[in-house]
Symmetry: C2
Subunit: 239 residues, 2 copies
DNA sequence: GGGAAATCGAACCAATCGGTTCGAAAAATT
DNA sequence: AATTTTTCGAACCGATTGGTTCGATTTCCC
């Protein structure tokens, strides 16, 4: 079965002749595809879409140009495949931090750390720069990235806040707004500093922890309920 | 005196011959310079640095290519001149909002509105996208933009918070961090939404006011002192 | 109005772009 | 080992790039 060997490739042009004989269709070797994507990713993220040439990618990937065009129809298609991959790498396994247990404060700190560490690390910042730069001429690209990445995460986190509200731990008039406030507090200033290349290197773990803790404090001081204070006081007393 | 006519032009090559006769040196007509900058600004901000060609700029500015190269040595130099101008247009006259009088809460709302309205409007977002996109290959550009723009503003605002602290209205352990928290709260979510082209049009005045008011509430609930509450209560009573 | 100077406009440069083509070489299936 | 298929590598396409050059034209100062 072909899909066993290359499950992630859409089966639009299966090259049925070869398929019937149990042979791989042209442009369907997952390893080669990976090789191309990895090389192209480095080039695109280093140079941006425009400045990256297909010859650069050829060189970086160690694959001939003709072969690239067997796997991807155009520069745009290759680019979009890479952005999609990057989005997945950034946002997958991020919201598991919401389900690790512990007190509300602990969970918020754990989530805030995971979020802001990932969003401000060098690789991710470079990827975001590339998407933002391309958003001017290809708005759909930036839009899709945002919808499937940050927006999706925002809804998951809003749901988490809702459930904390149902438990009587938080009291918010506008949970979606509160979710935005929280995520922005967790990266106070740092996100823009990184985007504009003001920081030579990403925030350290300690700095991040300091900012996140301050953000969580501020957030809970605004939205925490009496029940939350009682819980926290009780917990502090037992230690 | 030449510098009276073109004060902003560096006098490196004054074409002394012509200057002695009271004539303008080549490439020193402020009006032409403006014409070129205006055309180039539109093209660069619409297309980004790479995709903008000098022929596009020629067309948009209504100036021959040879003339452009009399005023600017290269595409990069022209681009940097425009970014510098844009930075000035964005951040100048922004921090006057801090000095308009009124209560602390009123001032914070006024400043927050001015800040976030300006930073998320279409023109400014496009300019920022261009700078961020170019920051990958020309980090100095993004760095200078950030230092002379957002960072400078951050220091001004931190000073404002300090003086409010001196008056006993606020109590903060870390004023610079608090300044970041405030500015980020004022654009909760909106800044990233705009950057990634998720929003077709910038936030409305009402939406902005709603977000800013919520941010100011949160900020004051965290950092406001008893003295501030008394002041606000007294003011509310007299109305 | 005469003469100096700046601008224009178009041609021109070498280099590079994304994308295609094709025969030779390499791999893999039978 | 024979044969099918993929990949390679280089040449090639037309278009466009940033940048230069240069005579014709316009503008401006005396």
């Amino acid at each position: 079965m072909i899909s066993d060997l290359s499950p992630e490739i859409p089966g639009d042009q299966q090259n049925t002749e070869a398929a019937r004989r149990g042979r791989r269709a042209a442009g369907c070797d997952p390893a080669k595809r990976r090789q191309i994507l990895d090389g192209a990713r480095r080039v695109f993220i280093d140079l941006g879409f425009d400045a990256a040439s297909m010859n650069d990618i050829t060189r970086e990937a160690g694959v001939s140009k003709g072969t690239i065009y067997v796997y991807f129809a155009s520069k745009e298609e290759l680019f979009e495949a890479i952005i999609e991959e990057e989005r997945g790498k950034i946002f997958n396994n991020l919201y598991g931090a919401l389900e690790g247990g512990g007190s509300l404060r602990e969970t918020l700190i754990r989530f805030g750390m995971a979020l802001s560490l990932k969003i401000t690390c060098d690789k991710v910042i470079r990827a975001q720069r590339t998407v933002i730069g391309a958003s001017e001429r290809v708005p759909d690209l930036g839009r899709r990235f945002y919808e499937r990445g940050p927006l999706h995460g925002h809804m998951l986190f809003t749901g988490f806040l809702q459930s904390a509200m149902d438990e009587g731990l938080l009291d918010m008039k506008d949970p979606p707004l509160a979710a935005y406030q929280f995520t922005d507090l967790c990266m106070a200033g740092l996100f823009r500093q990184c985007l504009f290349a003001y920081r030579t290197e990403p925030p350290s773990d300690e700095e991040m922890r300091y900012v996140v803790a301050a953000g969580v404090d501020m957030f809970l001081k605004s939205y925490g309920t009496v029940k939350l204070w009682e819980l926290e006081a009780r917990e502090a007393a037992t230690e």
